[in-house]
Symmetry: C2
Subunit: 189 residues, 2 copies
C-alpha cells in the first residue's frame, strides 16, 4: 500500500531562517539559542534535536547562504555581458541597502565576527567571500582584463568597505554614492 511520506518537519527550516536573521541583526555571540527558539516559535529544548550544537546551527546557516549566493550568480549568468552582471550585483546591493545601514553586510560582518573565534566555522564564513571574489574575478577575465585579480579585489573591497562605512555612519547615501562610482567605473574600463 502506498503511503505518503511524512513531510519533513519545517521546524529545522524555520530555525535556520530565524538564526540567519538574528546572527545578522544581533551577531552570533549576542544571539542565544533561546532567542532563536523564541523567534522561530520552536520550544527551547527542541532546538538541540535538530542541531547538536550552536556551531552546527551557524554552519547550516552559512551553508544556506552559500547556496543562495550560488543561485544568485546563476541568475546573473543569463546576462550575456559581464559588465551587466557586475551592475546586477550592485542592483542587489541597492535593494538591501537599508538592512546594511542598520545591521551591516550579512556576509562581511559575520566573517569579521567569526574570524575572531577559534572555531572551524570561521573558514566557512570566509569561504563565502572567496566564492564571491572568484566569481567577480571571472567576470573581469571574461572582459579580457589582464589584471582581473586586482580589479576583482578592488571591486569586492569597495563593496564591503562601503557596507561598513554606511553601517558606521548610519547613512544609506554612502551606498548610493559608491554604487554610482562603481557603475561609471565599470562602464569606462
Amino acid at each position: 500500500m502506498l503511503r505518503v511520506m511524512p513531510k519533513a518537519s519545517d521546524k529545522k527550516e524555520k530555525l535556520i531562517e530565524s538564526a540567519g536573521k538574528l546572527f545578522h541583526q544581533v551577531g552570533f555571540n549576542q544571539t542565544s539559542i533561546a532567542d532563536i527558539a523564541e523567534d522561530s516559535g520552536v520550544p527551547l529544548g527542541n532546538v538541540h534535536y535538530y542541531f547538536k550544537t550552536k556551531a552546527d546551527l551557524i554552519s547550516e546557516v552559512l551553508d544556506n547562504r552559500k547556496k543562495s549566493i550560488e543561485s544568485w550568480f546563476e541568475e546573473f549568468e543569463k546576462l550575456p555581458n559581464p559588465k551587466d552582471r557586475l551592475v546586477g550585483m550592485l542592483g542587489d546591493m541597492e535593494k538591501m541597502k537599508h538592512k546594511v545601514v542598520k545591521y551591516g553586510c550579512p556576509v562581511g560582518s559575520l566573517c569579521q565576527e567569526l574570524d575572531k573565534e577559534r572555531m572551524p566555522v570561521a573558514k566557512q564564513a570566509d569561504g563565502l567571500i572567496k566564492i564571491q571574489l572568484k566569481w567577480v574575478i571571472a567576470q573581469f577575465r571574461e572582459l579580457r582584463k589582464k589584471d582581473a585579480e586586482e580589479l576583482g579585489l578592488h571591486w569586492m573591497s569597495s563593496i564591503h568597505g562601503t557596507a561598513l562605512m554606511a553601517n558606521a555612519l548610519k547613512d544609506s547615501k554612502v551606498i548610493d554614492s559608491e554604487i554610482a562610482r562603481l557603475k561609471s567605473w565599470i562602464k569606462k574600463i
Copy 2:
C-alpha cells in the same frame, strides 16, 4: 613640607591596554573580564574598582584610541602637501597589515561588532570612523576638490574594505595591492 604625590596606579593603564588588545584580537563579547585581568596581571576582583562595568572599560579603550588617532593626524599635519598626508595614512596601514590580516581592522571590526549591540558605546566606536572620515575629507578639500566628500568616502571605504578582505582571505597581498592602487590614484587626481 613637600610631599611627592603618590604615582597614580598604572594598573588602570595596564587594564586598558590589555582590554584594547583582546577586544581587537578576540572581540568584545568573546573577551571576558577574567581574560583581561589575567592578561594584565591584575586580580579579577580588582578590575571593578577601576571600571564599574565592562561597558565603562570599552568606553575608555575607545577614548584612548580616539586620542591616538588625533595625535596621529597631528603628526601628519606637519607635512605641507595633503597628498603626502594621505600617503602617510597608507604607510601606517602597511605597518599594521599583518595584524589586520590576523584580527581585522582594530577600529572597523569593533564598530561592526558593537553596532549590533544595543549599547550607547556603539556610537562612540562609530565616532572613530567619523573623525577619520572628517580628516580625510579635509585633505581633499585642501586639494580644492569639489567632490571632496565623495572622494573621502571612497578613500575610507577602500581602506576598510581592504582590511576586511585581507582578514577574510588571510592574505596581506590584498593590502599591498590596494595600497598601490590608492597611491597611484591619489597622484593622478
